[in-house]
């Protein structure tokens, strides 16, 4: 069952995340065009070869997203996909593209996550924005609107803090180990010129002295919202072989989707990643020991801790000593989020989730420059949407 590993990431476009945009706003469709062009240029593939796209929402149209994009780009495709899995969307798009290519539906798929601000309409509609409650839906009839939002249970800090508190009640809580995740990743960010915190080192004390936002989560354990954008090109074997770089073959994946609000989890400490990671490793025929680096969704430090456990790199409940015993930086013995993670690189909307894929691919392509893991051949990647409840695992490999 699964992929044969005959599709690869061959091109990358990634805009440097910024806390405040230094360039003018761009419509999502314009971003799609620019990102697609940059990613295809990077791969050395002509736009006329594109025959598939994977998208998330765009500002200009609430529905008919793929055809709006293909029309704007002047493309005709055999595979047109929209994915709506929050922070797991980009990873979910990667395996869908690989599967479509291996099925013979298409040969060159562009996946984009435009996350740059769009121009505001001259007469903006009045009333609260639909993002007033983050990812929580205030729509009429929404269970969250009726049973969660009125109590202040609004995504995302609250839910991740509840998960971390439950983790602590079950396994004990080691704030220094959690802080060390942010610190080790920051070391990698300090070696990545594209990272928003490239010039800002931090210590465990800095993390623990930063304001408590929602117990037990400190400010420096939370991603910094940014603007940016990213795209990748996934291609079949023949195209990949003639592309410019060493391809990053997609050899395994798993996907698991549970609930939206942590309140309704069957077991808050049994995340959707457990089956997703197992499936990815089985499909790729790889063991945990063969992984050279992990590039895993890190909206919060607790997310990384539970990901390390639930992906099977250490037993459940033993992540905190594991983190204390290993160096998670790009030069360490357990490289984790070698671009700095979203904690150090910045979270530019859905492009934040894409950054784990671009970094995993870059490492396998040996394009990591100052933060390259020596001889990186196998990368384990996750996308995490909702509150640990939408999980996608990917394995990328070099030749």
């Amino acid at each position: 069952m699964g992929l044969r590993g005959e599709a690869a990431i061959v091109g990358i476009a990634e805009w440097k995340p910024e806390r405040r945009p230094t360039a003018p706003p761009m419509f999502t469709l314009e971003q799609w065009a620019q990102l697609t062009r940059e990613a295809l240029d990077d791969a050395g593939i002509d736009p006329s070869e594109v025959d598939g796209i994977c998208a998330t929402n765009i500002r200009e149209s609430d529905s008919f997203v793929p055809s709006t994009i293909t029309e704007y780009l002047g493309m005709q495709v055999n595979f047109a996909e929209v994915v709506d899995l929050g922070g797991a969307s980009c990873a979910a798009m990667v395996w869908r593209a690989a599967a479509a290519i291996e099925l013979g539906l298409c040969n060159v798929v562009v996946i984009a996550a435009p996350s740059w601000p769009s121009p505001r309409p001259p007469n903006p509609p009045s009333g609260p924005s639909s993002w007033r409650y983050g990812a929580s839906s205030a729509n009429y009839g929404s269970p969250q609107a009726e049973f969660d939002i009125p109590y202040g249970n609004v995504a995302q800090n609250c839910g991740y803090a509840q998960i971390a508190m439950k983790y602590g009640a079950e396994y004990g809580f080691d704030p220094v180990a959690l802080a060390k995740i942010a610190v080790d990743q920051r070391v990698s960010a300090n070696h990545n010129p594209a990272a928003v915190f490239h010039h800002v080192p931090i210590t465990v004390e800095d993390v623990l002295n930063s304001p408590m936002i929602a117990d037990p989560i400190h400010m420096l354990e939370i991603v910094m919202p940014c603007v940016g954008g990213a795209a990748i090109v996934v291609a079949g074997k023949d195209v990949a072989r003639r592309s410019k770089h060493r391809p990053a073959w997609i050899s395994g994946f798993g996907e698991r989707v549970l609930h939206k609000t942590p309140t309704y989890a069957e077991d808050l400490l049994s995340t959707a990643l457990i089956p997703a990671a197992d499936q990815a490793f089985t499909m790729a025929g790889r063991s945990r020991e063969e992984v050279d680096l992990i590039s895993v969704y890190d909206c919060y430090t607790i997310t990384v801790l539970m990901t390390i456990e639930d992906a099977g790199f250490c037993p459940r409940g033993e992540g905190q000593p594991f983190v204390r015993e290993h160096d998670l930086s790009f030069r360490g013995d357990f490289p984790c989020n070698t671009h700095g993670g979203q904690l150090g690189f910045g979270q530019a909307g859905l492009a934040g989730g894409m950054s784990h894929i671009t970094e995993g691919a870059r490492q396998v392509m040996r394009r990591g420059e100052d933060h390259q893991v020596p001889d990186a051949d196998v990368a384990f990647i996750t996308g995490n949407g909702g509150l640990m409840s939408e999980q996608v695992a990917l394995i990328l490999e070099g030749d």
Binding site: Y133, Y151, G152, A214, T263, L268
Partner: protein, 139 residues
């Protein structure tokens, strides 16, 4: 001009869920039960989760339970809750099994422990028909 008080978001009951909210108004916790699978259900639905049985019926319960997890929001989780911080945002596991979102009231921060017994507090929202279900430590 006086600073505007933030508007707290209130539930808008739908026909399906109204018995729950009407129950709170009467100081009762009323949730759904599916006889075919002998399971309790919250939040209210049209069909029982997993079995999709359409035999859900309303039953009154004590509303008591245990604290499954919580956080103390030191910053407002949305602009609407400005001034309410710190808010103890809780997940309560009812004795019947289902969990619900609530806030803990009448409790010292230092006394909050995951797994503690909690009981309902019915809070009528002034100038509305809404009663919210909050929780406090059971004696």
């Amino acid at each position: 001009m006086a600073a505007e008080t933030p508007q707290r978001p209130l539930p808008t009951p739908i026909d399906r869920t109204r018995p729950f909210w009407d129950g709170l108004r009467e100081r009762k916790v009323r949730i759904q039960y599916s006889p075919s699978s002998d399971t309790w259900v919250f939040y209210p639905r049209s069909h029982a989760p997993l079995t999709l049985a359409d035999d859900l019926e309303w039953r009154d319960i004590s509303g008591e339970g245990t604290l499954y997890t919580y956080t103390i929001a030191r910053r407002p989780t949305a602009p609407d809750f400005a001034g309410d911080e710190p808010q103890v945002i809780a997940v309560v596991e009812l004795d019947e099994g289902p969990r619900l979102t609530s806030t803990l009231v009448n409790v010292d921060e230092d006394r909050i422990v995951v797994g503690m017994r909690v009981r309902p507090v019915f809070e009528d929202v002034p100038e509305t028909d809404t009663t919210l279900l909050r929780y406090e430590p059971a004696p």
